[in-house]
Symmetry: C2
Subunit: 349 residues, 2 copies
Amino acid sequence: MTDLLELTAELVDVPSVSFEEAAIVSLLEDRLRAVPWLTVDRVGDNLVARTTHGRPQRLILAGHTDTVPPNGNERARIDGDTLWGVGSADMKGGIAVLLDLASTVSEPAVDVTYVLYAREEVAAVHSGLGELAAARPDLLAGDAAILGEPTSGDVEAGCQGTMRIEVSLAGARAHTARPWMGRNAVHRLGRLLAVVEAFDERRPVLDGCEYREALQAVAVDGGVAGNVVPDRATVTLNHRFAPDRSADEAIAHVREVASMADDVDVLDVAPGAPPALDHPLLAALARGREVRAKLGWTDVARMHEHGVPACNFGPGDPTIAHTRDEHVTRADIEAVHVALHDLLTGRNP
Amino acid sequence: MTDLLELTAELVDVPSVSFEEAAIVSLLEDRLRAVPWLTVDRVGDNLVARTTHGRPQRLILAGHTDTVPPNGNERARIDGDTLWGVGSADMKGGIAVLLDLASTVSEPAVDVTYVLYAREEVAAVHSGLGELAAARPDLLAGDAAILGEPTSGDVEAGCQGTMRIEVSLAGARAHTARPWMGRNAVHRLGRLLAVVEAFDERRPVLDGCEYREALQAVAVDGGVAGNVVPDRATVTLNHRFAPDRSADEAIAHVREVASMADDVDVLDVAPGAPPALDHPLLAALARGREVRAKLGWTDVARMHEHGVPACNFGPGDPTIAHTRDEHVTRADIEAVHVALHDLLTGRNP
């Protein structure tokens, strides 16, 4: 049997920060094309490998190949049964499981579409899954989908929406020796940041799952010269909103929070998806497992938009994704492998 | 008689943002070298033109040729007796006065050193006057000095010190869908900016002149990625401090104000200068004129450091320097010209 922790480490050691996935995609493509029961298509830096047994149902297993920029953790490091490194949890452990299932399950009970796509960790407009949906929607046809995002082996239902908003504050320049003659836009920014920090988060419960909204400043910029009271400052906000709100409703809410700003520009927005655990394949996966709301945005939303019910299920602790301490355990990867193997082969409880 | 407003407009129309003074210096050099009673030296982009009549006293008249970056006001525009444009007040009106005096006062009552220097509007370390002091200190010898910085034709005594400080705040990265797992450095920056905005300014009175301190954020920077709680943010502060405080005392004060910061780095510091109106030449200038504290840093401080008592006296409103609305009037330029002409020819009251 494949050592899935070693396979994950091998994938971590191929750098694949968003937009730089070509090397890891070529590695995965070579392995998938060697599997006799799969039909493989490559669209840009996205791979789709399908069984075509003519089964009555088709399940999509999907995951992204990119990572956020490393944070002193670019190399895989295994200590006992734990693997550290950027992308180990989000989501090269999941990719390792998908690669192994694709290579070993020759006669699944349902047809399977394995989707490995690029550019998930950046603005939604760049998504490889979006590129696939536009160029080859036929490759994404299916009855249900499971996204291998890190969930610690639990089922995370639906997902929250996300948007980035650039908020600008104006001022009036003056010499810094006489600042009372001007209006400091960076000082105004401080007041706006206080409002953002005091954001009163909603926690709606849908189908028993509690979502939890968030508003975070993710970038600031401002200044003119070292002796000039600055007349402009900008802050980029990231807002996460529960799936009971549409994108438009969420935008209106942020505009209200940032009402002291001179300009509010929505850079990108991706709505969320409600829980979809009433589908038989997803219900079978959820049975006997812990189920909770997915707080991060995932391509479950894109699947929902295309009419495919989906959930998140993968190895790795989502709370340490994107941190220096990102890691994944052998037990987590193997448990997800067993669960998906059982689902594909019809051995579910 | 020279039309000094036209001459100032001509100088405004030669762009001379700091570090790009070569063209205006060449123009000034050509005119000064044509004056038979002057000895002219050029050191880099700095010009020194001297009379050498062997008078018992030598007065330095000095001004900088650079401007801050334009703000939609790069071209000179004359409307009636007012000239608009970047540098019109700070300080091409003063340069026009110096150029005309140098070209017309052939037999002054005191020897005169005209100093036209580069790079005053940037960090003190780049100062052309500093370059001159290091390369040719003999050219800056004198009994007293008048800096032609804009003072609306009043006498501005001494000057406040200035420093730039980079303040850094740390945090802990996390996924923005779970911000409570990290610590947002940009949100901490907001709290620091509130402290800066609430800065309790000192207003000490020295020799009857009231100084007024200031602390301003002049630049901010921070952020990692659109979906990451940022773990770093920086703000650059500009602190103006009265001449009753040394640079070390002022630095200690800012460190105390920014005590919540993780790192405080002094980028540059230039101490101020106390009033020096007891010198006979400066006292003669001040007689019958309004006298007040100079709030901005000027090279009066550098002159003070070299043992030359100095004050600020020039055309143009200092409160509109560095703004879009910068302008200077014919009356202001001509009044300063008359005052300095009287001082040079010994016709003072």
